[in-house]
């Protein structure tokens, strides 16, 4: 099979256990540049673990991962360098508590990308503008709402100029009225062509933005397809039941 572009990410047969608990049991996934992949699945199905394997925060026990044709699971690869190319956004934001919004975006630029203070400041302000938070630049995390914190976290990741972004339930810790502002920023990123893997149960976002929905259970991919296929005519019974359940929760919660 020949495609016009090489995949940006290729995951092959990843296994990961924590003690006795086998979380990922031979998962494979390929992501093309500019794709938005939404990962869904019951809790404990290994979605977050998969994201942490991809940027080597918790390296897989076995299996191989290629990022832009480079095998990042090969011995001798510096994981810090890999992580600079993969932005990550967490469920509970994890903003640096002792730094302002601006400081949160700047610190990676000065410490990791080795920019001068001036350069870092200007780029950080640009990234804050992208997420609509220039006026909050000098606020500390404790002075920001959840939605604002998450947008700062996105700006912090974008500052590193990542080639792809991982979102680990980015709106799950937010009040319902604050999820919109975060999803909007993510939607804008998708339009700009950012490759994204999003763990989320925001079905509206999946329908509108995802190029592909991947249903995981028991540490493997059960089924994947376009949002329309997955929502309208899933092949597997498990997929149908699960997606029905979260769709009901979604509409019931509004």
């Amino acid at each position: 099979m020949s495609t016009a572009t090489a995949p940006i990410l290729r995951i092959e047969n990843i296994h990961k256990s924590f003690g006795e608990t086998r979380v990922l049991t031979g998962i494979s996934l390929t992501v093309q540049p500019q794709e938005v992949v939404v990962l869904v699945g019951p809790s404990g199905s290994g979605k977050s673990t998969l994201l942490r394997c991809i940027n080597l925060l918790s390296p897989p026990d076995s299996g191989r991962i290629w990022l832009e044709e480079q095998e990042i699971t090969a011995p001798g690869v510096n994981p810090d360098k890999v992580r600079q190319r993969i932005g990550m956004v967490f469920q509970d934001f994890n903003l640096f508590n002792h730094l302002t919004a601006l400081g949160n975006v700047m610190i990676g630029l000065t410490k990791v990308r080795k920019m001068s203070k001036k350069e870092a400041h200007d780029l950080a302000m640009f990234e804050l503008e992208r997420v609509g938070l220039v006026d909050r630049a000098h606020h500390y995390p404790a002075q920001l709402s959840g939605g604002q914190k998450q947008r700062v976290a996105i700006a912090r990741a974008l500052g590193m100029d990542p080639h792809m972004m991982l979102f680990d339930e980015p709106t799950s810790a937010l009040d319902p009225e604050l999820t919109g502002e975060v999803l909007e920023v993510m939607q804008q990123l998708a339009r700009e062509g950012m490759t994204m893997i999003v763990v989320s149960h925001e079905m509206g976002f999946a329908r509108q933005v995802a190029s592909r929905v991947v249903f995981m259970e028991g540490g493997v991919v059960v089924e994947e397809g376009t949002p329309t296929q997955m929502f309208e005519q899933p092949v597997h019974e498990r997929t149908r039941v699960f997606l029905r359940k979260i769709a009901d929760m979604d509409s019931g919660g509004r």
């Binding site: 810090d80 992580r83 508590n97 990676g108 990791v112």
Partner: protein
């Protein structure tokens, strides 16, 4: 000699010891800070060997009276390297304080939410960079109240260096009382000076605490 003249002589004589006390305290606190932070880092982030070294240091030093450490440094180690009483005493105090400070900073490191380290690594920081730029600045702020307490304890422990003849406040009070035969006056002056030093120290540290309070 009348009372006022005695008081002036006593006060002036003891006052010269204030700088020695401050010197001993500052050296001991700084040495203790370096030991304390390093040992706490070894305890929390080190491999099993470093963890064991740090744990043994903390347990042994806290089990031994500080005076014994001062004697060992002054009578044993100072025979091989040239150490004045001032330095032997200050370093010994610092070595002892390091064990207590390591416990303070260990608690502070562990109180920094684990997500901070994960987020720092996620933007490509090495473990050391993350500790330096993200964890340590927060841990220091969390440690400040307990560290302030340790600072006043070290200030008072600085009296112990008088056993090796360092002319700090207490030593001078003892000397002048032997001359004037007015121990109550001499030790009252010493007490007053310690009180002032302690109050100033706590005020300064409380200012820092307010200035760098961490909101989570």
């Amino acid at each position: 000699m009348d009372f006022v003249q005695n008081l002036v002589t006593t006060f002036n004589f003891i006052l010269q010891g204030v700088w020695v006390t401050i010197g001993v305290t500052l050296v001991a606190l700084s040495v203790g800070l370096v030991f304390g932070v390093a040992m706490a880092m070894a305890r929390v982030y080190g491999n099993s060997f470093l963890q064991a070294v740090a744990a043994v240091y903390s347990v042994i030093v806290r089990a031994v009276p500080v005076v014994v450490i001062i004697f060992i440094l002054f009578f044993v180690i100072a025979r091989f390297v040239n150490l004045s009483p001032f330095w032997a005493g200050s370093l010994a105090l610092g070595f002892a304080s390091g064990a207590y400070q390591s416990e303070i900073f260990r608690g502070a490191f562990q109180a920094v939410p684990p997500g901070q380290m994960i987020a720092a690594r996620a933007i490509g920081m090495s473990k050391l960079q993350a500790i330096q730029s993200i964890i340590l600045p927060q841990a220091v702020r969390l440690a400040l109240p307990a560290w302030g307490n340790e600072a006043t304890l070290v200030l008072k422990d600085s009296t112990l260096v008088f056993v090796v003849g360092v002319p700090e406040i207490l030593r001078r009070a003892q000397q002048v009382s032997a001359r004037t035969l007015e121990p109550f006056m001499a030790f009252s002056v010493a007490m007053l000076l310690y009180l002032i030093l302690t109050l100033v120290t706590t005020q300064v540290l409380q200012w820092f605490e307010r200035r760098y309070r961490l909101q989570m």
